[in-house]
Assembly symmetry: C2
Homo-oligomer: 461 residues x 2
C-alpha cells in the first residue's frame, strides 16, 4: 500500500460520500477491507484487493483495516506495522498519516474494534478469515449480502443508492482506467501479427496495463474461441483466418475498473463474412449508445440491441421473419445470449457481490426468458451511472446444436446460410458509457470500432 | 484448465512418483487441489492455482478435484462440468479423459469421496473452504502441516523426501520456467531506458512471461528501493543514478517455478561505487555456485557467501577486522541479512507450507543468530535438488540505524566510508542452481551476470 501521487479527486470525494451515507441511514456502519489470500503457501499471496465497499468510503487499499462510520464521524482501525516489517516490506505510512489522508476523526488499533462495533451494520467481505472476524466482532451472523436483513440490508440499499452513480472522484479514476485500457487494446492489435499464441497478445496487453502501474480488473479474455464467453485459456495458436476477441480492462491502484472488448482479424483483414457480422454488432453497439440518456430503461437498450442484431441477421438471410417477432421469441439470443451490459465502477460488474440488489430496481427480478435471463442490469438509467454496452454475435455449439433450440427455432433460422459464416465464432464490441442528462460520454471512445481503423492498427506497426 | 500440448515429461513422471510414495508410506492418501479464491466478488476470482502437493502427484491443475492414492492405485474425484458451463467456459475435458491422462485407475464424483477417504492421510491446503471440506470429509481436524501429527506427519515427511529432488518431468518444466524468466529479464533490461516508473519495467517483464502462456511464480519485485527485500510497489520513478533490482520469476502452466534476480543501473552504466559493491555480490554468487555439489552442507554455502561479502567489504574499507571474526559476529548480516537461498520447485520457496520440515534436516532448527535466522534451507545438498543462490548487499535503514547495531558493530564498520556508497541501496544476484553429483548446472545461466554484459543489454535495444 502506498499513498498514490495523483488521487486528490478521490480524497476530496470521501467526505461527501460519508455525508450522503449518513443522510440515507442513521445507524453506525463498520466496513472491513479484507486481507491477503494465500496462493500456494501462506507467504506467497495473491495481490491484495481491498473490498470495494471499504474502498468507496475509505479511498485507499489498506490491508487488514476497518472503518466505522456514524453520522459524519469516521474512525479508522489499523494496526501499526509489526517490528521487522520494514526489512521485508519497507517503511509503511503510519496509521495516523493514513487517518489524516482519509479524513478520519480517530484512529485505533484493531483491539479497540470490538468495543466500538456493537450494533453496527456491515457488508460481508470476500476474504474468508475476515468474514469470520466480522462474525466474531459483531457477535452475530453476517450472511452474504443478497441474503442480508435488518440493518445490513438497509446499509446495502444505501450503498447501492450511492455507488450506482459516480462522483467526480470516481469519474477521474474511471477515466484513467479507460485510457490505459485503450492503450492496451491498441498495443494488442499491433502485436497480433508477431504473436503465435493468444498468450502473446494477452501478454502485450496486460504488460501495458502493468506498465502504467495498474492491474487487470478481471481475468482477461483473449481468444480465437470468442464463442466461449468467459474463456480464460490463452494456449491456442493464432491462425490467419481467425478472429481474435479481446476483453481486457485495467483497474487503477485505487480500485476503479474499465471493461473493454474488441474483436479483430489475426490476418489484419476481416473476411467478407466477418465484415458482415461485425457491421451488425457494431450497428447494435452504436444504436444502443445513441439511445442512452438519463431516464431510459436499460432493458429497453438491451432489447434495442437485440432488434438491431435480429434485423441484421434477417438482412443476411440467417434469420427469417419480422424483427419484433424474432426478438419476442428470443431468436436473437441464439447468437446473442448475454445481456447488453452492466454497471461498472469499483467492480467490473459493479456491486455484483450484492446479487441483483444493485443491478435490478426494487421489485424487479430476473426474467426466465432465454433472451433476458442473463441481463445483469434492469433499471432506469440515471445521470452519473457508468454502464457497458457490449453486443455480440457468437456461434456457441451448446446453443446452436441443442435439439430443443433446433426444434423451437426450426423455421426461424436458415441453417444452410449460417454455415457460410463458419469463420465467425464470436464477435463482441464493448465500451464504457457514462450516462448524462442528455446523452452519453463514451470513456473509451479513443479506441476505434470501425473495421478499417482496426485493420490499420493491426497492420501499422 | 486444459491439457497442455508439451507436458509428456510430467505425464511420464507421475507413475514413478506414486510408486515411490507407496514405498515410503503404507497408508491411503487423499490430496485436494483447492478452488478459485474470490477477488472483489464471487465471480471475479484470482487465477486458480492448484495445491502443489496435488500437482506433484496428479500433474494437472484441476480445479476442485481430489486424488486418492493407495499403494500404486490412483483414484480421481472430479465432477463433470455443470450444465450451461460450456456457454461461459467452453467444453471441458471429461473427467474420464483427465483420469486417463493422469493414469488414474478410477474416476468418481465428489459424492463418493467421503466413503473412500476414511483413514486417509492428507496435507492441509491453502483454500479456506477446501480446508473445511478436508475436515468434513475426513471427520477429524486437519492442522496446518508444520503442526501435523500421526499419519499426516508421516505423509509430510514422505512428500519432503520425494519433492526435495526433481525427476526428469520436474526438471523439464523447471528448465522451461528458467528460460522464459531469462527472456523476461533481458526484456526488462532493454526496456529500462524507455520506462519512467518501476512499473514500466515490471510490465515489460511480466508481459514476456504472460506472452509465453506462463504466469509469475510470486509477486514481482522491481524496485529502485532494493533495500526493501520484498518490495511490491512499482510507483517510484526511475532516476539516472538508481540501481533497479528485479526479482521476477515465471511459473509454467503446470506450476513449476523459476526465481531470478538481477540488479542493473537505470542509466545503463554502473557508477564506480555500484561497480565495487556489485563485484563483491557477484564474487559471492560465483563462489557459492562453484562449491555446490551433492553432499555439501547448504549452510556452509551460506557462510561462504557471507565470508566473500565480508572480505569484499573489508577490502573496500567498509568493514574492519578479520573475515572469520566478522562472519562469526554476523557483521556481514548488517548488509546481507537474508539467507543465501532456498529450495525451488513447484513453489518458489518449495514446500514452505510445511514450515521448516522441508528446508531443515530432521533435528535441525533455525538459529537465532542475526546472520543465520533467515536461512530457509539447512540440509546437506543432494543431486537432483534445485536451489537458488542469491547473495545481496543492502543498506536497510532499519538495520543500519538501529542503535543496538550501531553499538554492537561500532568498531567493525567504518560508517564514514559507508556513506560514500549511498547510491547502492540494494543489489541481489540470484540464479537457479541444479545440484549434481559432481557440481551444478545453472538453469538460468543464459542471463548474464557480468557488469559489461548487463550494460550492453540495457543500452543495446
Amino acid at each position: 500500500m502506498y499513498l498514490p501521487p495523483d488521487c486528490q479527486a478521490i480524497q476530496m470525494a470521501l467526505p461527501q460520500r460519508r455525508q450522503r451515507l449518513s443522510e440515507l441511514i442513521d445507524i453506525p456502519v463498520v466496513l472491513w477491507s479484507g486481507r491477503y489470500s494465500p496462493r500456494n503457501f501462506p507467504a506467497n499471496t495473491y495481490p491484495f484487493r481491498a473490498s470495494s465497499h471499504f474502498l468507496y468510503f475509505a479511498g485507499l487499499p489498506l490491508e487488514n483495516a476497518a472503518i466505522r462510520l456514524e453520522g459524519e464521524r469516521l474512525e479508522l482501525f489499523l494496526d501499526e506495522a509489526p517490528a521487522g516489517n520494514a526489512l521485508w516490506h519497507g517503511e509503511m505510512p503510519q496509521p495516523s498519516d493514513i487517518a489524516e489522508w482519509i479524513g478520519a476523526d480517530g484512529v485505533f488499533p484493531h483491539t479497540e474494534l470490538e468495543a466500538r462495533a456493537q450494533g453496527a451494520a456491515t457488508v460481508r467481505v470476500q476474504h474468508p478469515e475476515t468474514q469470520a472476524q466480522q462474525v466474531r466482532i459483531l457477535q452475530r451472523s453476517v450472511p452474504a449480502p443478497p441474503q442480508s436483513t435488518g440493518i445490513d440490508r438497509a446499509l446495502v440499499e444505501a450503498i447501492v443508492t450511492l455507488r450506482l452513480t459516480h462522483d467526480q472522484g470516481g469519474l477521474a479514476e474511471l477515466r484513467k482506467a479507460g485510457a490505459v485500457t485503450v492503450a492496451a487494446h491498441k498495443a494488442g492489435m499491433a502485436a497480433t501479427q508477431i504473436a503465435s499464441l493468444e498468450a502473446g497478445v494477452r501478454g502485450t496487453m496486460e504488460g501495458v496495463i502493468l506498465s502504467h502501474n495498474m492491474t487487470c480488473s478481471y481475468n482477461s479474455i483473449v481468444t480465437v474461441h470468442g464463442e466461449v464467453l468467459h474463456n480464460e485459456q490463452y494456449c491456442h495458436p493464432l491462425q490467419p483466418g481467425n478472429l481474435l476477441l479481446a476483453d481486457v480492462g485495467a483497474e487503477t491502484p485505487l480500485g476503479w475498473a474499465a471493461d473493454v472488448t474488441r474483436t479483430w482479424p489475426v490476418s489484419g483483414q476481416f473476411s467478407p463474412t466477418q465484415r458482415e457480422i461485425y457491421q451488425i454488432v457494431l450497428a447494435a453497439h452504436d444504436a444502443c449508445i445513441e439511445q442512452i440518456k438519463s431516464g431510459v430503461e436499460y432493458q429497453e437498450i438491451h432489447l434495442l440491441g437485440a432488434r438491431v442484431i435480429a434485423a441484421g441477421l434477417v438482412d443476411l438471410g440467417i434469420l427469417r421473419g419480422a424483427v419484433e417477432d424474432l426478438v419476442e421469441q428470443d431468436a436473437h439470443a441464439l447468437f446473442f445470449p448475454h445481456g447488453i451490459g452492466h454497471v461498472l465502477g469499483l467492480d467490473v460488474h459493479d456491486m455484483e457481490d450484492l446479487g441483483d440488489l444493485a443491478g435490478y430496481a426494487a421489485g424487479r427480478r430476473r426474467s426466465q426468458r432465454f433472451g433476458l435471463k442473463f441481463l445483469r442490469l434492469n433499471r432506469p438509467l440515471k445521470a452519473g451511472m457508468l454502464v457497458t454496452i457490449e453486443p455480440g454475435f457468437y456461434q456457441v455449439p451448446g446453443i446452436l446444436n441443442d435439439s430443443k433450440n433446433r426444434d423451437r427455432y426450426h423455421n426461424l433460422v436458415n441453417w444452410e446460410r449460417l454455415d457460410q459464416f463458419s469463420d465467425v465464432r464470436g464477435i463482441r464490441i464493448e465500451d464504457d458509457v457514462w450516462v448524462t442528462e442528455t446523452g452519453t460520454e463514451v470513456l473509451t471512445r479513443d479506441l476505434p470500432t470501425q473495421l478499417e481503423e482496426i485493420e490499420t492498427l493491426i497492420n501499422h506497426r
